[in-house]
Subunit: 363 residues, 3 copies
């Protein structure tokens, strides 16, 4: 996995200059870079640190003076993070899953595996499961019966996929991701205090204490192409229909997607975001870390929620929101600024009352 | 796993009409339903979609005109979600764990397993662990030494149960649930800044920086009957006594229950809720998604917390709360409404000050 | 694992009185304690419950009248929680991992294991991984290729450690902890709406909907000595450099640490805390449960954040913060108090407007 500067530049569709036949073994931060490393110095701020390391080659911003930076060769990129996608993809050392099926794996004889799959130690594949070509499945995974996994999947260790899940091509799952747990769905024989409190916004009414009956999940999980799910993430089975995640969507670590929820295409659900059941999320939605979404609402296309937002009602397409409850980010900012002045305003109001009404200030 | 309309109606204690000998293979949403499916159309809103599918039978609300909906048979239910509990329980296809003990499982010779248990591939059962009759334990589980699991347990794949845990009957655990990790309990040799800041609500005092000493967990986890824990959920061991979860309580995915905490009976802890250590939670408590509970407080019977609530002090029985910090939901709503008017109110106060005191508005 | 009162007192460096040759088998809460238990009764409040149990020995506060409490022997400690660290460490019964390497473990022939390690059933150790002496590794763990684990590690079951991770001595990992998942890092070909919204605090600009390209993680995770990570916790690989956790830091259950982030020494990250990518956290920082930290900021030494704090900007050293967004705890408290009076203040302002401007109150 060595490349010349020339090869890397070509893969990125970028310009390069200097000793473009220089061999690169890995990427490095400017101050850590050795002589066979490619230093990532895409802005003048990062380039300053080049002198602390011993890089001979770097990725620089367009128009950078590579010779003045003491380099032997350079690649020039207009959008640094895009270049990172290309470079890191080329230099990824992987996790070392060996080709073929490890002898300790437990594969049901009725499972259908493409010929070139790599299956790690102690992985279990259930009855009639189908694994597409090019799949790399790490150690200690469990693929449930009748599950379908498309082509070129990459599963890290300890991923579990429940029975009947249907997953598209190029699926990536980080360690401990859970696809297809049962949905969290319970009901009391009579109307419960929680049901009343939701309707009235606070009043439990006369509901008596009751035990919970379980609603089983008959649906499964359906995942499109090019989806990634993070470490210890959970996507639950639907009740009757399938829970679904659309093409190109990415879920970060410890994200929870409840039963029946539909996540659209090209969404980003950042770390520890929790989406309740029966939510409809459009395309190109970005939910910042620790966002929470109440059940049975919709979130339109292109919505962006700042970190920590608690979404308690429908959000129209294109809106940028923040807060608890989540509201337009600019409204939130206005309220927040006014809040910071609130203790002073309280004193002002007391002074006004005293002046206008000649009354003593309240406690 | 096929039933007639008649059999399903009888199991639900519900009325049915039409061709009640019709055979049903699965449940379906009205628009997806085929000729051998039972369409779930429990309200007029859902029934509209029946014409998009080809259902011949449906579950309807009481008094619905099934013939006008073009059906051959119908079941009528007064409380739709209750009917869902019964129907989904009948039609659950399961995860396919085979009867008996898989040859790849690693069972300690001193473990006591009831004769009819089903143990999946590569599951590990420790010394002196006892597994009750009817247990279905999925692939890749680990049951610790001296743990006790009651009758009719259902463990999905990759569940771990620590040493000495005691769990009642009909326990359900979703993939990756962790019962019996060690509690998170550390102490500094001298009083720490964090201890001071808690006491003073903000002042660390003169405490010096120190390292943390570990308090080990000698207690275990004790779980009642009819408890369910969600995917990647964590319930920690107690320090001296056991952490406990009462009969009938249900924990959703990624829920955390800290050491020494006692969760009462018939509680619902929704997705990503986190309960710190040494909390006393009563019976029939419902904590919405992403609720947080500070340590060493109590939450009375029947408390309901809206999603995202951060509970920072004791909550009396029966209260409905919301917010950060969690307060009565109606107070929270009042404050919230006033907050939305806050930017305008700030302008009003400035105008009043100008008019009354003839002073220039502050910045 | 039995000790005399004398032995326990000596290990704690504490004074003891009475029948100090009494044999202790376990620690117990005062009301549960039997005749061979050591009751934990470090304050008068807890000592009251001694009469409900049958303890003959207890740990008491300094100056306590042990004879009046009906005890045969007592240990006196000045700082109860410190004593708990010592006592629980002595009496910890462990999880029963057998010495040696379990025959079902899958150890790569190139892995280097110290002679005295204990490796549980079905654990997988990758190529060239190095495990230091005294390590106890539970069942169902996966240690990636080229990973290094220092001396005296204690891994509970189902822990995974990614390729190339470097971990110091005395590492403790609870069940399901995930070290070295890939970072959550994606980029769109052109500037995205999310990038615009962050810059403008709310305006997506004219960015078109795009798909996400993946930035791979070439870095790994680097962990110091005496670190503990909780159940189902996730620490992601860095992009170019390593993500790092410093000596003595402790992460609770379900904590997330994003790519490139550096956690300093002796920090406590409490349950469900989420730290985004590229955050710099100093030493002795305490983040309460469910704290969230936005990416690319720094948190100075000794910062303390109350539970539920959302940290959206840099925090100077020594500050105690709370709220969403996180601000000085005392400012937060002032604002919060003013908020509770807000509905009344709104009425006051309306009354003032009416009196001063003779105008009707606004809606």
């Amino acid at each position: 996995m060595q490349y010349t500067i020339q090869q890397i530049a070509e893969a990125l569709g970028a310009e390069c200059q200097g000793e473009t036949s220089l061999m690169i073994e890995r990427a490095a931060e400017p101050s850590d870079a050795g002589a066979s490393d490619l230093a990532m110095a895409m802005s003048p701020k990062y380039a300053e640190a080049l002198s602390n390391g011993s890089a001979r080659a770097a990725v620089l911003w367009e128009g950078a003076d590579w010779q003045a930076l003491g380099l032997a060769a350079a690649i020039f990129v207009p959008r640094p993070r895009m270049a990172m996608a290309g470079i890191t993809s080329m230099l990824d050392g992987g996790q070392g899953v060996e080709p073929g099926i490890h002898t300790s794996a437990v594969i049901d004889p009725t499972a259908e595996l493409a010929e070139d799959v790599a299956i790690g130690p102690l992985t279990v594949i259930g009855a009639r499961a189908r694994i597409g070509k090019g799949a790399i499945i790490g150690a200690h995974c469990v693929i449930g019966m009748d599950a379908v996994l498309g082509e070129n999947a990459l599963l890290r260790e300890m991923v579990s996929i429940g029975a009947r899940a249907r997953i598209g091509d190029r699926f990536i799952a980080q360690p401990g991701a859970r696809i297809g747990g049962d949905g969290f769905s319970f009901v009391t024989p009579e109307v419960s205090g929680a049901e009343n409190a939701r309707k009235t916004m606070g009043d439990q009414g006369g509901a008596r204490a009751q035990s919970w009956l379980r609603i089983h999940s008959l649906g499964a999980v359906e995942i499109g192409d090019d989806v990634e799910v993070g470490a210890n993430c959970t996507v639950d089975n639907g009740t009757i229909r399938n829970t679904s995640v659309g093409n190109g969507s990415k879920l970060d670590n410890l994200v929870h997607v409840g039963h029946n929820t539909r996540v659209g295409e090209d969404c980003l659900l950042c770390g520890q975001t929790g989406v309740s059941g029966s939510v409809e999320i459009g395309n190109n939605v970005v939910l910042g870390g620790q966002t929470g979404v109440v059940d049975n609402i919709f979130i339109g296309d292109g919505v962006i929620a700042g970190g920590g937002t608690k979404i308690l009602s429908n959000v129209p397409a294109g809106r940028v929101i923040m807060g608890y409850p989540g509201i337009k980010m600019e409204t939130h900012t206005d309220i927040y600024k006014a809040q910071r002045r609130l203790p002073r305003m309280a004193r002002d109001v007391e002074a006004l009352k005293k002046a206008v009404f000649k009354q003593p200030p309240s406690d």
